[in-house]
Amino acid sequence: MTLLELEDVTAFYGPVQVLEGVSLSVPENGAVGILGANGAGKTTTLRAISATVRAGGRIVFDGKDIRGTRPDRVAALGIAHVPEGRGTFGDLSVRENLRVGAYLRKDRKGIASDIDYCLDLFPNLQDRITSNASALSGGEQQMLAVARAIMSKPRLLLLDEASLGLAPSTAKAVYDAIRRLRVESGIAMVVVEQNANLAFTLVDSATVLETGRNVLTGTSAELRGMDEIRRAYLGG
C-alpha cells in the first residue's frame, strides 16, 4: 500500500518556481531517501508535503489529496516534519518540547510512556530533561527534534538533513537511533540527506534531485552500484 504519493509536484517562493515536477512514492512502513546537491530542492519538497510552501501537482497521503491544507492540519493527519535546522523550542525545556510534540494527543498514559521511549531511544536527553533546548549541543538538539516529532505518533516522518553540522560519530548515533525507531515502530519516512552513505543505512530506495527535478530513482542497492552516484555523493 502506498502511504504518500507525490505526482509532478511544483513549488514556488513568491514568483520563483523551484520545483519543476517532483515525483515520489513512499510505501506504508517504507523509507525513501531524497538525495541531491545544495539547492536541488530537497527541503522544498518536504515543505510542499507539510504545506509550508505554495505547491502545485498532486500530494496524496493515505488516499487523500492534501495539497493546500494548513500545516497544522497536515500534522494532524499524521505527518511529522523535522525541519532543517532542527526547529526546537529554545526557551522551553526538553520535557516541554516533548509535550508540545504531543499537543494533539489526549492519552496521558500514552504520552508519558512515549516520553520514556524517546529517552530510551536518545539516552543523551535523559540528563537534560529539565534543561532549555537552547542549552543542548547540536547533536542533542537534533535528537530532541526527532523525539518531538515522534511524540505526535506520526504515520510519516519527514527528516531534513539530520546529520547537518554534526560530528561523524554523533551523526551516526542519530541515524542508529532513527533506524531502531523504524524497526520498532514501522513509521514511514522521507529522508533528505546530503550524506548519501548515511542515508543508505536507513532507506530502502531513493531519488536524486537536480534543479527541482528527479534525475534518478532506484532501490538503495541499485543506486549504490551506480558510478555517477558514487562519484557525486559517496566520495569515490
Binding site: S50, T52, R70, P71, D72, A75, A76, A80, H81, P83, G87, T88, F89, G90, D91, L92, E96, R99, V100, G101, Y103, L104, N132, R148, A149, M151, S152
Partner: protein, 293 residues
C-alpha cells in the same frame, strides 16, 4: 513612621495597576514576541464600555464582566484583522502598528465619550481599615489582592497548562509549532484576547481613582513598560514585583527626596531601569533572552 507605611501601601496599590498592564504586555510578548503599545488604550476602551453600561443602570460587577468579555473579543479581533498582517514581517513594523492603534483608540474614545473626565464607580469601598495606627482604604487592599490573584493565575497558565505551553511554543517558533499540530493563528488570537482581559481588569481598578479619560492609562503604560523591563519579559511574578517596587519607590522618593518631588517622580523608574540593566541585563527575574521591542 505612619506616613512611611501609608506611602508604601499606597505605592503597592498604584503599583498593582502598573502590574496588571505589565502582565498584559508579558502575555502578548509570550504569545507573539511583540510589545503591544496599544495595551493601555484597549484597557481604556474596556473601562469606557463598563462605564457606558453602568450609566444605563447595569450593576457594576456585571458591567465589568461584560467589558471583560468584550475585551477578549476585541483583543482577538485586533490580532486577527490587524496584527496578523504584520506578525510574520519585521517586528519593528508591528510595534509601530501598535503605537498607531493606541492613537486610533484614544481618538475613538475621545470622539465617542469626549475628553472630559467621567466618574467611574468603585468596586471596593473607600472606607479605611486601621491597623498599627495606619489607615488604608479598602480600595487599595482590594486592588492589590485582585492583582495578586491574577498574577498567580497567569503564572499557573504559563507554567502548568497545555494552553500556556502552546502559547509559549507559538511565540518561540510558529513554524515548528504548526509542525506539531498547534493551531497557530487561533492561539495568537487567544493570547491577544487574554491580554486584553488583563487590561480590562486594570482599567476597572484604576478608573475610579484617576477618573475616566481617553489618556487615563498613558502614564501607567510607561510605568508598566519599566516594570516589564525590570522584571524580565518572561516572568509574571517578576513583573508584578517590579511594578510594586516602582510604585512604592516613586511614592517614597516624591516625599523623602526633595530634589525629586511630585514633578520628577516619573523619572524614578527610569533611573531604576538604567541601574538594573547595567547590573542584570535580563531583568531582575528574567531568563537570558534577547528583548525584542
Amino acid at each position: 513612621m505612619a506616613t512611611f507605611i501609608q506611602l508604601v501601601v499606597d505605592g503597592l496599590s498604584t503599583g498593582s495597576i502598573y502590574a496588571a498592564i505589565a502582565l498584559a504586555l508579558v502575555l502578548v510578548h509570550q504569545a507573539t514576541g511583540l510589545i503591544n503599545f496599544a495595551q493601555g488604550g484597549m484597557a481604556v476602551l474596556a473601562a469606557y464600555s463598563a462605564w457606558w453600561l453602568t450609566a444605563r443602570g447595569v450593576p457594576l460587577v456585571l458591567a465589568i464582566l461584560a467589558s471583560i468579555v468584550l475585551s477578549f473579543l476585541l483583543g482577538a479581533a485586533v490580532e486577527r484583522w490587524l496584527m496578523r498582517r504584520f506578525e510574520r514581517g519585521d517586528p519593528d513594523t508591528a510595534v509601530v502598528v501598535t503605537i498607531g492603534l493606541l492613537t486610533l483608540i484614544t481618538g475613538i474614545c475621545g470622539w465617542l465619550f469626549t475628553y472630559n473626565n467621567q466618574q467611574f464607580p468603585s468596586l471596593f469601598s473607600l472606607d479605611a481599615v486601621s491597623f498599627l495606627g495606619v489607615s488604608v482604604s479598602q480600595r487599595s487592599i482590594g486592588t492589590t489582592l485582585v492583582i495578586v490573584v491574577v498574577m498567580f493565575l497567569l503564572q499557573g497558565l504559563f507554567a502548568g497548562t497545555k494552553l500556556g505551553l502552546a502559547l509559549r511554543a507559538v511565540a518561540i517558533n510558529p513554524q515548528s509549532a504548526a509542525f506539531s499540530g498547534l493551531p497557530v493563528e487561533r492561539l495568537l488570537m487567544v493570547g491577544w484576547g487574554l491580554a486584553a482581559v488583563l487590561g480590562a481588569i486594570a482599567g476597572a481598578m484604576v478608573a475610579p481613582q484617576l477618573t475616566l479619560t481617553p489618556g487615563m492609562l498613558d502614564n501607567a503604560l510607561v510605568y508598566a513598560l519599566a516594570a516589564v523591563i525590570l522584571g524580565g519579559l518572561s516572568s509574571p511574578v517578576g513583573v508584578v514585583v517590579a511594578a510594586w517596587i516602582i510604585g512604592v519607590l516613586e511614592n517614597l522618593a516624591a516625599v523623602y527626596i526633595p530634589l525629586i518631588g511630585y514633578d520628577l517622580k516619573v523619572a524614578v523608574p527610569f533611573i531604576l531601569i538604567f541601574v538594573v540593566l547595567v547590573i542584570r541585563p535580563q531583568g531582575l527575574f528574567g531568563r537570558k533572552t534577547v528583548v525584542r521591542v
